[in-house]
Amino acid sequence: MLWKKQIPLAITFIMGLVFGIQYFVPHRVSDTLFKNYLNFAIVIGVFGTILAYISFYRAHTMRIRRKAPAWPYSVIAIIVSIVMAIFGFAQGMEAGTVFSNMYFYVLVSIEATMFSLLAFYISSAAYRAFRARSAQATALLVAAIIVMIGRIPLGEGMSFWTLIFPEAPTFPDIANWILNVPNMAAKRAMQLGIGLGMMMLSLKIVLGIERSYMGGGD
């Protein structure tokens, strides 16, 4: 118990206390401590990353061994990862190498397209779910439509009322006002809450109240 829980918690407390105070101490010793910690922490993280590789190969080899549904895809994932690494180490990462092309034409194409599917889902959601069910929902809807029009180049031309009242604000003007005034106020209050929440969470970690990061078990 002492080695498994209490000493690690004591380390968290000491580190938290030291680096919480360090921020306010503009002394050479404090700076050296800070710099050395950064160097240490980066190397820890770099080696900790090995966990990601082990998890990847372990998960996929287990799927292959168990003949899980769609296991041949795991074979492909493993082979592709090895091929990519071999080319990267052998040829380097410059533009024009197999490594660079694999990255740009395979990885970028797939990832960018996966996320581009969201364009279709948001269109469908706009059609089916974006409803003025109450006064507040209408406010949301109106603000959204104004920002949508105000942020496109056509927005200026769509402000038809300026033909009669040339001095009146256009869609982009109204969108800018919404973003800079009511939106800003709402987001600021939220950010204040988030900022205080982050502080509280950090404090709970340092004091050993929040321990979920340590994982389960004894």
């Binding site: 922490a41 990862s81 599917l117 279709f120 949301l140």
Partner: protein, 209 residues
């Protein structure tokens, strides 16, 4: 129009349509793309991880410059890997607590400064009805206060307090509306990027604006 003869571009187009085919329904091409991307990511990460970090930050300093003290954090990093061995997983806590504790300690004053104090300070604006700025400042001040009241659950939302909380909801709705409006642009941009790739890089259609 001049269709590309670069096989890499063809491969990019193949995977683009493989993923887009998911819009119709899940299929083997999509699954293939899904697994290929995981494999390529891991391979890519391995190379850049070694070249940009392990080699210059550990191998060279330790074996060429003699900075042997770096072996200590390296061992601590390797202790993190023990997370997957149930019997020894507790050893990973030493490295985790070392970094999480310091990170939490560093975060407290910085969050306080950047996200709380500076934000509060910027809300203390010059209020007035004489100018547009003055009126906007009133709206900002009232808006921040009303939304904060809405999020304050330790007091029942009744009477004046409840009214202020309701006003806070209106501000939040406008804020969420603004976010949604912008989000539409974000999502469309992602597909537009792929359209540009197919039209320009693959079909060779000159589109310069």
């Amino acid at each position: 129009m001049q269709i590309s003869t670069n096989p890499w571009v063809w491969l990019g187009v193949f995977f683009t349509f493989s993923v887009l085919s998911f819009l119709y329904k899940d299929n083997p091409f999509y699954k293939l793309a899904e697994h290929v991307t995981v494999g390529v990511s891991i391979g890519y990460f391995m190379v850049i991880w070694w070249t940009n970090t392990v080699n210059p930050r550990f191998i060279i300093p330790v074996f060429e410059n003699g900075d042997y003290y770096l072996i200590i954090p390296a061992i601590m990093g390797l202790m993190m890997v023990l997370r997957i061995v149930p019997k020894w997983s507790w050893l990973s806590r030493y490295a985790i607590c070392f970094t999480v504790g310091a990170g939490a300690g560093m975060g407290i004053p910085r969050s306080m400064q950047a996200s709380v104090l500076r934000q509060l300070e910027s809300t203390m604006l010059h209020l007035g009805f004489g100018t547009t700025t003055g009126i906007n400042n009133i709206v900002i001040f009232i808006g921040v206060l009303a939304v904060l009241i809405y999020f304050f659950f330790s007091k029942e939302h009744k009477g004046v307090f409840g009214g202020a909380a309701k006003l806070g909801i209106w501000f939040l709705m406008v804020g969420f509306g603004a976010t949604f409006g912008y989000t539409v642009m974000a999502r469309l941009s992602l597909f537009i990027g792929r359209v540009l790739f197919i039209l320009q890089d693959f079909l060779g259609i000159p589109l310069a604006g």
